[in-house]
Homo-oligomer: 425 residues x 2
């Protein structure tokens, strides 16, 4: 079989997560454990952790799925109007018709408008493609680069979201890591970048740099880089409706925007996408609701703002709580979360723990994460799944458990860490 | 860029379809044409052509999207119960939570049960994966084969659905065509198969055979092959909710079932899929409704059967109408449609038409299809997009226009063909 598929690894859904599911099953069957439930802090899955959907999005989905509701149920008039507009844009007024492979035209236009309003840069709707989540969009862009000898190289941050390393291996491209500067809030370091580029010349030809913003797993935010980058650089940016205040992971919505891309390459991209028919139309409709939320004065506005603000305020509080708690723990060092729903604390592990891990054939941070899972039910992702500077250890946790559960988790985590440190001292 | 992406072609959404969209825009702007609308007989998109969704599926989707409706709207009790069961299987009872990458467990079980009931063979739910339509599943399986020198080879029927040829080019695999026997209702011919296999040995190592059943674009149905095939052959079969009586293309639902696959290969497949997070949860829920429709005695049963039967009866009538009409036309020869929603008539083109096509740098069947589009607004797909025996010409049309429109289309088509034949005689 294809060796690139054999080689690829994807830690976010790897052995730890599989073990977490097995433990959940054991608990269901009445197994006796030092805890009663698994706390899944491994995945950025807000709704699974108790976040409530935004009403406006879901009302539109219900109307689009079953249009009889537009007439017969008491939805706000702007919801009904939007659902009708979107249905008018569907073949046969049905979300069961294929859309264009690049997404429904009015949704692409709404997204372009959203990007313009957000960034203050012009955005051309024909360069916006609606995608089933960001991952699919990212893979379709990385698929344009050439494997071979030497292969095209892609600069990726370390730590990085493992979709990138997995996809590069799958596509036969060379991942060239550049370290984010943990001591400067996981910032981008130009000298590091230049060094990585220089070193890469022996093995590949770098054609592309991946910037994850807000950082995943690291939670930092990169600010505007200004000219000349905005005018000249070939850029593709991705957005998903799985994160942010809406957290609609399961609906699979998102987009990519292309700026300054070579027109011939773009034509081949569009052609390749057309063979995959179209992204889910209901996911596209949810994406439209994100790109064009209710405006002030519209019937759904007040509830929308109330729900959105509540989520964002709570995430802000939780982000601070998690970081402060970790920083109060011995051997922990955690940068502030500026964006995203993750943090990536650095942990010092006692030499005896490192030896014990080696004896089990595990990386020390994986060993730590497995111990945490088996003893407390808390599921995190070990830092080595995201890559990290050799000799350092981290893990990624989300801040998504609801406040009460999050407090419980942090208390248990603290106790575990003390016991663990003591055991291996 | 990657040369395999440059090389890939996908006729079903190629230049003819792009021109059809342009003509629609011209008509909207008041352009003067010999017709008033484009008839899209190119794509298997039932709802776009006026088919109505199955109520049961859509009611469940509405409830799952906006669960308040379960309490507050007058849906049948089995719809409410099903929606609740499916929500219970979602993280946080929300379709906005990720599912497992392989799909929601109870849906995989419902699908396994469906397959068992349909085929009379045992089906193991852990070997069933829910996918976002069949295309994504097909690509994930073809992605397991090895490119290289020589590459793995894949036997594909001719004519074939262009997803296969496009994906093989994209993945650097060798497509080895085997001709279906047009004179025997597009049947499978063992000698042809053996000959193709023998010839392929010069360029590749064949690892896999693609069987499209019901045939696309050809509409034939292959029957059970019996033992030893069912016990030994490594088989992956695919199903989509885009076709059949439900025709829910835009929802992106489907599944694949694995039988007898090498366990190690299967593990790598599951790992690779996990990097794509999950198929759309609403698409999965629609898939469940297809795999587990209402049973006799349940409140939704009567309407479900009425709607399903009406669609299937109408498709049957339309299938016969299209084939009979084509067979009454000079120079046409069309096999019966046994399954699927397509037919693939063979047409004789006058030598002068073939010359005129050559002068325009077009394949003769593409020339014919463009003429038909420009003069009548009927959009079909030329046979060369699916491959065909050299020197023969075909096209694919769907039978999806609703009866009145279909009659209109066939009348116009007949007139066009007479004029075309006369012009080039």
């Amino acid at each position: 079989m294809k060796q690139n598929v054999v080689k690829l690894e994807y830690a976010v859904r790897g052995p730890l997560v599989i073990r977490a599911a097995a433990i959940e099953n054991e608990l269901k069957k009445g197994a006796n454990k030092p805890f009663k439930k698994v706390i899944r802090a491994n995945l950025g899955d807000a709704h699974a952790m108790g976040a409530k959907p935004i009403t406006f999005i879901r009302q539109i989905l219900a109307c689009a799925s079953f249009p009889e509701l537009i007439e017969k149920y008491d939805f706000p008039s702007d919801v009904k109007q939007r659902a009708n507009e979107l249905l008018d844009a569907c073949g046969g007024r049905s979300v069961g018709a294929y859309s264009a492979s690049y997404g429904i035209e009015i949704i692409r236009k709404d997204v372009a408008k959203y990007i313009e309003d957000r960034d203050g840069h012009p955005s051309n709707w024909e360069d916006v493609l609606i995608t089933a989540g960001a991952s699919m969009g990212i893979k379709s862009i990385l698929n344009l680069f050439a494997p071979g000898n030497p292969p095209d190289g892609v600069l990726i941050p370390i730590p990085q979201y493992p979709l990138y390393s997995a996809t590069l291996v799958e596509f036969g491209l060379e991942g060239v890591g550049y370290y984010l500067d943990e001591d400067k809030g996981w910032g981008l370091d130009m000298n590091e970048l230049k060094g990585a580029l220089e070193k890469s010349k022996k093995t590949c030809c770098v054609k592309c740099i991946v910037i994850i913003n807000p950082g995943n797993p690291t939670g930092q935010v990169l600010r505007e880089m200004g000219k000349p980058y905005t005018d000249e650089v070939e850029l593709t940016s991705f957005m998903t409706i799985s994160k942010g205040y809406m957290g609609e992971c399961g609906l699979r919505g998102g987009w990519l925007e292309i700026v300054n891309m070579d027109k011939e390459v773009q034509t081949h991209l569009y052609k390749a996408l057309s063979a995959m028919l179209c992204p889910t139309v209901l996911g596209q409709i949810a994406t439209d609701a994100v790109a064009r939320p209710p405006k002030q004065g519209e019937p759904s506005y007040d509830l929308y703002i109330k729900e959105k603000t509540a989520v964002l305020d709570s995430l802000k509080t939780r982000a601070k709580l998690v970081v402060d708690t970790f920083n109060s723990m011995e051997g922990f060092k955690c940068n502030p979360i500026q964006g995203a729903m993750y943090c990536f604390p650095r942990i010092q592990l006692p030499p005896k723990a490192i030896e014990a891990a080696k004896a089990e054939g595990k990386a020390a941070d994986v060993f730590y994460a497995f111990s945490l899972l088996e003893e407390t039910g808390i599921c995190i992702v070990a830092g080595s799944g995201f890559k990290q500077r050799p000799g350092t250890y981290h893990f990624r946790t989300t801040i998504l458990p609801q406040p009460e559960l999050l407090n419980e988790m942090l208390t248990i985590f603290k106790e575990f860490h003390q016991k663990f440190t003591k055991k291996y001292s």
